[in-house]
């Protein structure tokens, strides 16, 4: 069907091969034919490299890196119903995954219960799990050792409620809160910038994020309360350097807000973690990680005056690039994922999700999912890349790129600062404009043949790959809705009402909201009901459409 420009593209490439402009990375940096000592020998830069495990951590946050312990293989393990997701988590753990990411279905992401009219057709969608009430959280976590296995909740606007359900279930099971490990994504800023799963205006959303951070700071010392995410920025179109700069700027904003809420930087910065995307350009990606560690460490120490070395550590989870996967010749995606995963490992990631090759077509099958997991195991056990730490350090090219990434970042920091900070920049449409421009340029480059996607704008084949796809369960939505309706009928209605009234009052004040939410979820108040009350107080956000 779609692309018939094979020959034209090859001609363009040949013409372009004498032109320096044709060698550009995804951030648009022109790449030289050869790098040498002159590209990295700037005075004073030796101190910027240091040793692994030492400030400024350019070479990695651990002294031993993967020799002591390889990265955490953290695969997405969700499915429509909480009990099926539970089964899938157990399977992934059995296959050798040592961490889990859980994604939510669209209604839960948008703060709506499964019986909400707007949820119709989307309950259990996108391979995400539907969480309406504490009952769902119980079923989801049943038999999973939540004090041993770290669970990453891919939860943002609804994080305060999801955390409350998680804490409530832990309390029921007698698991001490200080033992709970895992992560709440809880990164609201990138929702306005890219992923668009927001409900309230940015400022009340930030309050909920910081309430969650403060609560974890006090009661869940091993839990990461925010995972500052560049992944979604990159998926929406941000280039790697934009992803890097915007993610770090968001991270600094959370640090500022935490300090404003009365926390000391060293009490919470060590528990902030990050989430990056690894796109196709192999070395650019590695440079991105190295620059990120250095900028984070320097800023946390110099600007925020952190004394604890752990505050300076840029700890990062990585996912290979969903948006680089093609629907055409889908098996080619296996190779893309492998190269991206290797790049993340050489960049020094702490944990990694590898995408399944069929994701441009549907949610993954058990077979494609297993293949994705095995990809990581082959890199870890067979390729030998873990034998030495930061093997690319000292490469003229990688070090020059790392320096360039760092320098470019400060230009974006300046622009954001000039607009009055991250929230102001969101409100002024800064991110929407830049990200839309980058997404459009990327598409144009592909269409003009300046950027090659194998099987799409070169080596295209008319025939579509016929691969086995996972089908969504057509019965699930009906069952979930009827279970929820029954749950809502059989609870203490007066208590539900009292909890919701109390939440409304707390929203108008400044108390930490989490204890009130824990009480509510234990009384079977649902996620949609809580968000509904919050919307009445905080209002709803609508963005200007910039394209």
């Amino acid at each position: 069907m779609n692309n018939q420009k094979g020959t034209e593209t090859i001609e363009n490439r040949e013409k372009g091969s004498t032109n320096d402009d044709s060698f550009k990375n995804l951030s648009g940096f022109k790449i030289k034919a050869l790098y040498g000592p002159e590209d990295i020998s700037q005075p004073g830069r030796e101190a910027d490299l240091g040793l692994p495990g030492e400030y400024p951590f350019t070479r990695g946050i651990h002294k031993t890196m993967y020799r002591q312990r390889p990265w955490t293989i953290r695969q997405l393990g969700s499915l429509d119903s909480p009990s099926k997701a539970n089964e899938r988590i157990r399977q992934l753990l059995q296959m050798g995954a040592n961490g889990i990411s859980l994604c939510l279905d669209m209604p839960t992401i948008m703060g709506r219960d499964s019986d909400d009219p707007l949820a119709e057709g989307e309950v259990g969608s996108c391979g995400g799990v539907a969480i309406d009430s504490i009952e769902d959280m119980r079923n989801l976590l049943e038999g999973i050792p939540i004090d041993e296995i770290s669970i990453n909740f891919v939860s943002n606007s609804q994080s305060s409620v999801i955390l409350s359900m998680f804490v409530a279930v832990a309390e029921e099971r007698g698991v001490p809160l200080e033992k709970l490990t895992g992560t709440m994504q809880n990164d609201i800023l990138k929702e306005y910038q890219a992923q668009k799963s927001y409900y309230f205006p940015p400022r009340p959303s930030m309050r909920l994020t910081i309430d969650t951070l403060s609560f974890c700071n006090k009661h869940l010392p091993r839990f990461n309360p925010i995972s500052i995410s560049g992944y979604h920025l990159a998926s929406a179109g941000a280039t790697p350097v934009q992803e890097l700069a915007f993610t770090l700027a968001n991270g600094f904003t959370y640090v500022e807000e935490g300090i404003k809420a009365g926390l000391s930087v060293d009490s919470f910065a060590p528990r902030l973690s990050f989430f990056f995307k690894v796109h196709n350009d192999f070395f650019e990606n590695i440079a991105k990680y190295r620059a990120a560690r250095r900028i984070w460490a320097k800023t946390i120490r110099e600007r925020f005056e952190a004394k604890d070395r752990r505050s300076c550590l840029f700890r990062v989870h990585t996912q290979t690039s969903g948006s680089s996967l093609t629907a055409h010749q889908a098996e080619n995606n296996i190779i893309r994922v492998t190269i991206q995963a290797l790049s993340a490992v050489l960049g020094g990631t702490q944990s990694l999700h590898t995408n399944a090759f069929d994701e441009a077509l549907s949610i993954p099958t058990p077979r494609s999912e297993k293949l994705a997991l095995r990809t990581q195991q082959i890199i870890a056990r067979e390729s030998g890349v873990i034998n030495t730490i930061d093997p690319l350090a000292g490469s003229y090219y990688v070090e020059a790129l790392t320096n360039q990434m760092e320098a470019e970042c400060y230009k974006y920091f300046k622009e954001i600062e000039d607009l009055g900070g991250v929230i102001s920049a969101i409100e002024k449409g800064y991110y929407a404009k830049i990200i839309a421009d980058s997404a459009f340029s990327y598409q144009r480059e592909i269409e003009k043949g300046e950027r090659i996607v194998v099987g799409l704008n070169e080596f295209f084949e008319e025939e579509e790959t016929d691969i086995e796809l996972r089908e969504a369960d057509p019965e699930f939505e009906r069952e979930k809705v009827s279970d929820l309706v029954a749950l809502k009928e059989n609870r203490d209605q007066a208590l539900v009402k009292a909890c919701l009234n109390e939440i409304g009052e707390v929203c108008q004040g400044s108390d930490n909201i989490i204890p009130y939410l824990i009480k509510a979820v234990k009384s079977y108040v649902t996620l949609g009901e809580i968000i509904g009350v919050m919307k009445e107080i905080f209002g709803e956000y609508r963005e200007d459409s910039i394209y």
Binding site: N3, G121, E122, S125, K196, S235, T326, L456, Y547
Partner: protein, 133 residues
């Protein structure tokens, strides 16, 4: 449609999903190709979309769906258009939509469904060709 009038296209993201990269790229490409594009923004219900299409007197509605909700949303929009006597408006779409479902949607009268990786010129050519007649 009237000859000489610019083609008017409504681009919408129905449902709860906010992944609007594809919708925005297509909206800009159509605008650059000289069409009048109305981008309805996020989280639109089928009724809002159909009402907007009629109010704006568009020639076509382009829906971007990545969440798997296409099986619910496309049929609803087709039914609403019919009820409101606006079946002359072309409905096309794009997103993560398996081949089997694309065939089913076509049988409901939905136009072309473009998957991930489609060249925007293919969409422009399609609209020019289809709205000609």
């Amino acid at each position: 449609m009237n000859k000489g009038r610019k083609r008017r296209i409504l681009i919408a993201k129905p449902g709860l999903d906010g992944h609007d990269r594809g919708a925005k790229v297509v909206a800009r490409a159509l605008r650059n190709a000289g069409m009048e594009v109305i981008y309805a923004g996020l989280h639109q219900t089928p009724l809002q979309i159909v009402n907007a299409a009629i109010d704006e007197d568009v020639d076509a509605i382009g829906l971007s769906i990545l969440s798997g909700a296409h099986k619910t949303i496309f049929p609803k929009i087709m039914t609403l258009l019919k009820e409101k006597g606006a079946s002359d408006i072309l409905v096309f779409g794009g997103g993560t939509i398996p081949k089997k479902d694309r065939v089913e949607l076509t049988s409901l009268g939905v136009g072309e469904i473009f998957t991930t990786g489609t060249d925007t010129h293919v969409i422009i050519d399609y609209l020019n060709r289809t709205l000609e007649t």
